[in-house]
Symmetry: C2
Subunit: 145 residues, 2 copies
DNA sequence: AGAATTTAATTGCTATGATAATTATTGCTA
DNA sequence: TAGCAATAATTATCATAGCAATTAAATTCT
């Protein structure tokens, strides 16, 4: 491995680990019969308990694109977990909110999801987290321009 | 933010950063007119200069699934950068190798890709990398069972 | 007010990720 | 050796990511 490729290796390890976390969580979601994907869950969590939010706002807060949000909200609505309401002030916007079923599902899932998410961080301590966050934030800012 | 959700936050930050690295690299690939995606590049790199590898081997080394490899190799073949050869010993396998064009493309891309990959890691030092790798590897192993 | 610009959401397209199912081939074993 | 299990690749399906283009509505600028 040539010296100049170490940065490719770091990027690869980062992507690999990120995918493993996602895959692990998704498998647990299936095992628990949650009936939603990890990404759908992330959107639901931000609407709990009774937030109204436009899709643009949801896209920004979940770091997804607006086309992706359209599709995720489509699926949540099809499952009866969320609903779109046309904004009174601005008819281009749809305010998304959870249905009663959606609220109950979040409440049912929340503690289990916390447990699932915790598994990745075993054997790691406060200092590890802090430094880890520092590195990730630095990378993030390095590529922000 | 409830205390138990900090692990979700860490996972989110990790995924967000991973996606930003990928997106940055892909945009640079387009800007340089490489004509291949980051994932296609990763496969090509492992075949350079004249390796023969089955798709299963490529899948494992790139941490992708075999369906994904099938499609990536399809695309590389369609672009004239790689070729499949039926394995002499085992006719289920196809040995994949770069064409002459593919070899030249890797040689052309390599130094530029190294530069692109380097950008993410600005302002970070040896110790940061080591600790970062330690954390990523720990996560990876935590979820390996 | 009317025209141009901006914004929110949607749609279309390509690529990737994950899983399940299928096909072809190989290896094992009773 | 006949049958069965394991393996390699492919195909199909669904979900997500990213980009470009479109539509509708709101805002801005003369």
């Amino acid at each position: 491995m040539p010296q100049q490729d170490i940065y490719s290796e770091y990027s690869f390890l980062l992507e690999k680990t990120s995918r493993r976390i996602k895959r692990y969580a998704q498998k647990q979601f299936v095992a628990f019969n949650f009936g939603v994907t990890v990404d759908q869950w992330m959107v639901m969590k931000h609407l709990y308990p009774s937030s109204q939010m436009s899709q643009s706002e949801l896209a920004e807060i979940t770091f997804k694109g607006t086309p992706t949000l359209t599709r995720i909200v489509d699926l949540l609505c099809a499952k009866g977990l969320a609903e779109r309401m046309v904004d009174g002030q601005d008819r281009r916007k749809s305010q998304v909110h959870l249905t009663e079923t959606g609220i109950l599902k979040v409440e049912n899932m929340q503690p289990k999801v916390s447990q699932i998410r915790k598994a990745a961080w075993n054997k790691l301590g406060e200092q590890d987290f802090e430094h880890f966050q520092y590195v990730l934030n630095t990378i993030y800012q390095n590529l922000s321009v």
